[in-house]
Amino acid sequence: MIDKTLADCKQAVAPVFDGATVMFGGFGNVGMPGQLMEALLLQGTRDLTVISNGAGSGDFALAALFRERRVRKLIASFPAPTSKHFRECYLKGEVELELVPQGTLVDRIRAGGSGLGGFYAPAGVGTELAAGKETRVINGREYLFELPLHADFVFLKAHRGDRFGNLCYRGTMRNFNMVMATAGKLVVAEVEEIVPAGSFSPESVHTPGIFVDHLVQVARHPGLADKPSEETAP
């Protein structure tokens, strides 16, 4: 019998090694795998390359990984002004930032997860984010060449899951979680409820279990439970 369930987050993050590349789902606090992030923090893993839309906010989860100097490099689109711990690391030169337009970030992850070698994106042409990038004119329009992104570990947050790893999200939780699920060597989801096999209608599964190696049922991180962050995005 397939059973991808793990007992706890500690077990889920145990394989993460120093220097690993890790993706985290979430946009703002919604869909952020906060409990897995806290477990990773407790484990003490360092020199991480993190791929994430933002850099967290407040003093917990993703933000705390910066506070504790566990991140060597961040690949992101929007480290918000409220990401104070990232900000401090960045200004001290203690973390490298690769800033990527959000849509390009999404498609680089998608390319990594779906076996494409790279693609031409329109975002960033003629801007400082085009620096050092190959350009190409296709059908009269200029594009930037972009490479796939793939991670050693992907951490997701979903609403419900089953023992096969099938996941369902609610509200705006899908955000980066669905595409990141396709782009990791080991993919782990924290879910609020593990439901019995057969509970999901096949039409309502958002992330098919093929993409998910493990899942763990865990209460929502208290920092994410009752209110969203105060970040603002362009």
Binding site: F27, G54, F78, Y90, P101, Q102, H159, P228, P234
Partner: protein
């Protein structure tokens, strides 16, 4: 007389058509949602995966999993749909939105604009700004006409880091409405108490005056909120 930030938003809302699919950036643009004609069905897009953002929820009614791109709680409108980032950016970058209303630091005569990084800003963040800018067919910029030091923000060449080249279609400021034409900027409307030459004087880039150039028509207040000052 000038438009308030709400006044700019109110005026932009008048130009959004029924059936529009509109992304509203932070700042003045997000205020546009407050002034949409309830008789017109317009879908507000949020880059984190919503088409059909509704009003803010009542206090105590917030759904912790339902936020819009500005990270504040939201509700969903009739006919709304939820999706992931790949589909959301397919909408933005693939030309499917009808309009994006964005704030700006500067707009140049050729439609270049800068809105993502204040020069000298220590920690940069770009989010979806560049994808929206290259994707939406109608980019409306909403901003004050002058910087708070009194310098023109409609310039010959942007000095702030560009968001995208040549994509702005129309500029709404507290003083004027200006179209980005193929050859030149065209003044369409100006605030009562000003005149085209006065607007020209506050605009670094060359301004052509539209044949039907007229005064901006915005009421004093709306639901008690001042639109002019």
């Amino acid at each position: 007389m000038m438009l308030t930030r709400d006044g700019i938003a109110y005026r932009i809302a008048r130009d959004l058509p029924e059936g529009g699919y509109v992304n509203l950036g932070v700042g003045i643009p997000i205020l546009v949602a407050n002034y949409l004609d309830p008789g017109k069905e317009i879908f507000i897009h949020s880059e984190n995966g919503i088409l059909g953002v509704g009003p803010k929820p009542a206090r105590g009614q917030e759904d912790p999993d339902l936020i819009s791109a500005g990270k504040g709680f939201c509700t969903l409108a009739l006919g709304a749909s939820l999706f992931d980032q790949t589909l959301s950016f397919a909408m933005m970058r693939g030309g499917h939105l009808s309009h994006a209303v964005l704030g700006a630091i500067e707009v140049a005569a050729n439609g270049d604009f800068a809105n993502w990084r204040v020069p000298g800003q220590a920690v940069p963040g770009v989010g979806g700004a560049m994808d929206l800018a290259v994707g939406a067919p109608n980019i409306f910029v909403a901003m004050s006409h002058l910087t708070n030091k009194g310098k023109p923000k409609i310039v010959n060449t942007c000095s702030a880091p560009l968001t995208a080249r040549g994509c702005v279609k129309r500029i709404y400021t507290d003083l004027a409405i200006i179209d980005v034409g193929t050859d030149a900027l065209v003044l369409r409307e100006f605030m009562p108490g000003h005149d085209p030459s006065g607007i020209r004087a506050k605009t670094e880039a060359e301004l052509t005056i539209a044949a039907d150039c007229r005064e901006i028509d915005v009421p004093e207040t709306f639901n008690g909120v001042p639109l002019r000052q």
